[in-house]
Amino acid sequence: MSMSAEIRDSAGALPALEEESGRDPRSDRFVFSWWHLVLFPLAFLMLIPMIWMIITSLQTLNETRHFPPILVPSSIQWQNYTEVLQRAPFARWFLNTLVVTVVVVAGNLLFCSLAGYAFARIKFFGRDVVFILVLATLMIPFQVIMIPTFIIVRKLGLIDTLGALIVPNLAGAFGIFLLRQFFRSLPIELEEAARIDGASRLGVLFKIVLPLSGPVLATVAVITFLWTWNDFLWPLITIYNPDNMTLQLGLTTFQGAHQTNTHLLMAANVMSVIPVLFLFFVAQRFFIRGIATSGLKG
């Protein structure tokens, strides 16, 4: 995801979609709105690919080979799911993806916070030049760097290991930029007072600055999470052994091997989507704010 467009120097306030605005919600809530006639078809159109995936995942192979399609399966085939788990190392792929994502998110939060704070608050030799260099990488599309990065990762002996997916992604310009902008918007007096009381730079960052930065840290975490969990091209280049694959890569090999077993393919796909959907439902506020921020500040 190239976050290149118009890097503006406006930070601080994070946009959030309010569930309830200041307007009186009672006035129109219980009156029928003509907008339902727009919104219902729209919602239907957005959901139909997923609903159809779920229905198919519960059908028999014979039911999937039928035209016109059978919309209601005669009986629900839960065993499609267990069969997928027997046929492919899905648990392994899930675990790999989880490990990579957790480590990459944690690395970004730590390293981008440290660097973001240095760029925001500490005057050190070469700071501005280095910061501009970091920002420049935001504008470079991935395909420009992927060939040399592949060679570097190979030299490090990381090809076909989870390390290939983790190490190059432990810190990113986007997180550094977002955190630096946020840190600069905080009142500096608190930090100065703590410094006078003898706190170290590290102490100030961890005890004063970061506790005030919950929302922006959540934004970095959400964007990094989505990006890492769903990444496809880089794992495709660096991972060959099925045991080291991530979910996205595993799904493509599963699809290649079970092209005509649509019911199994759909069951596998449902399982790959469920973790992200679950997280999206429980942390909706953070996801939406994170995405809105990535856009406006991008």
Binding site: D28, M46, M50, W52, P68, A115, F124, V130, M146, I151
Partner: protein
């Protein structure tokens, strides 16, 4: 330790570098170095294993004579020309519809936003089935209104457009989130004042809301164009560029060159041409945007 050394150790230079170093080192090794290396490679003949051979501008000279490169670029521009207006326009439409307090609005919003978190591969698998030429739901539904049947991803005329339809579905939610955040920043007083003056709702939207959404629109157009020119995952998964070369796009082409055929120098040249194309498009869009977009504050 002498006093001066201690002072340096405690100075901001050391602290600043110590804080910035891990992230900066990673970005230099996996960002800056590859950018320069890739530029170097574009002047070389190399297959990722052997010693590279310097060939000057030969890679770039070969590009205009390469029909597959030309086809790929044409497809990328067709893709962008349709994907950008459809996804941004669709996102605006969805956001305006979702920006109200009616019963069920949480459900409607969720339905529109959900595809944002679904991966490109999962989306492709869903649509591969939805658009199945023989048993697909899409052919059945279109057949009910007298259209089709279509080959979708398997037809050389329709594959690129089918992929566009799918990626628009995948991105409308993202655009809607950005627009909805922008819509909620439109001051109520402005809308109410216009209403009191007797303005019709279409004219309020056209003359007040839409101009205030300018920055969001500019961002989305630039961002979506960059994404469109770089489309890869869906095409690699669904068609591998086929049928024939009907869905060849630049990133797929350079991926195949570098990692399947070992023609890495030429692939690097394509990557740089693509980078320049993206930069030119972005600059044009920002330049036009600057003239058209009104920034409050």
């Amino acid at each position: 330790m002498s006093v001066s050394v201690r002072r340096i150790m405690r100075s901001d230079h050391v602290a600043g570098w110590a804080f910035a170093f891990p992230a900066v080192a990673l970005i230099v090794v996996f960002g800056i170095v590859p950018i320069l290396w890739s530029a170097l490679m574009s002047f070389q003949k190399t297959n990722l294993l052997s010693t590279p051979e310097w060939i000057g501008l030969d890679n770039y000279r070969a590009l205009p004579k390469d029909p597959l490169f030309k086809t790929s670029m044409v497809h990328a521009f067709i893709y962008a020309a349709l994907f950008v207006p459809l996804s941004v326009g669709g996102g605006l439409f969805a956001a305006v519809a979702l920006n109200r307090h009616i019963r069920g609005i949480r459900f409607y919003r969720l339905a529109v936003f959900v595809p944002v978190v679904v991966s490109t591969i999962a989306t492709s698998i869903m649509f591969l089935w939805l658009f199945d030429p023989n048993f697909g739901l899409a052919n059945w539904l279109l057949g009910l209104v007298g259209l089709g049947p279509f080959g979708f991803f398997t037809s050389s005329d329709g594959a690129l457009y089918s992929i566009i339809a799918m990626t628009v579905w995948g991105w409308i939610g993202f655009d809607a989130i950005i627009y909805l955040a922008a819509l909620q920043g439109v001051p109520n007083e402005l809308l109410e004042a216009a209403q009191l003056d007797g303005a019709r709702s279409w004219s309020i939207f056209r003359n007040i809301t839409l101009p205030l959404l300018g920055p969001a629109t500019l961002f989305l157009v630039v961002f979506s164009t960059i994404n469109a020119i770089q489309v890869f995952d869906e095409i690699y998964f669904l068609t591998k560029g086929g049928p024939g070369t009907a869905t060849y796009v630049p990133v797929l082409y350079l991926f195949k060159l570098a990692f399947e055929q070992g023609i890495a120098g030429y692939a690097a040249a394509i990557a740089y041409v693509l980078l320049v194309a993206i930069l030119i498009l972005t600059v044009i869009q920002l330049w036009v945007g600057k003239r058209m977009v009104y920034y409050a504050s």
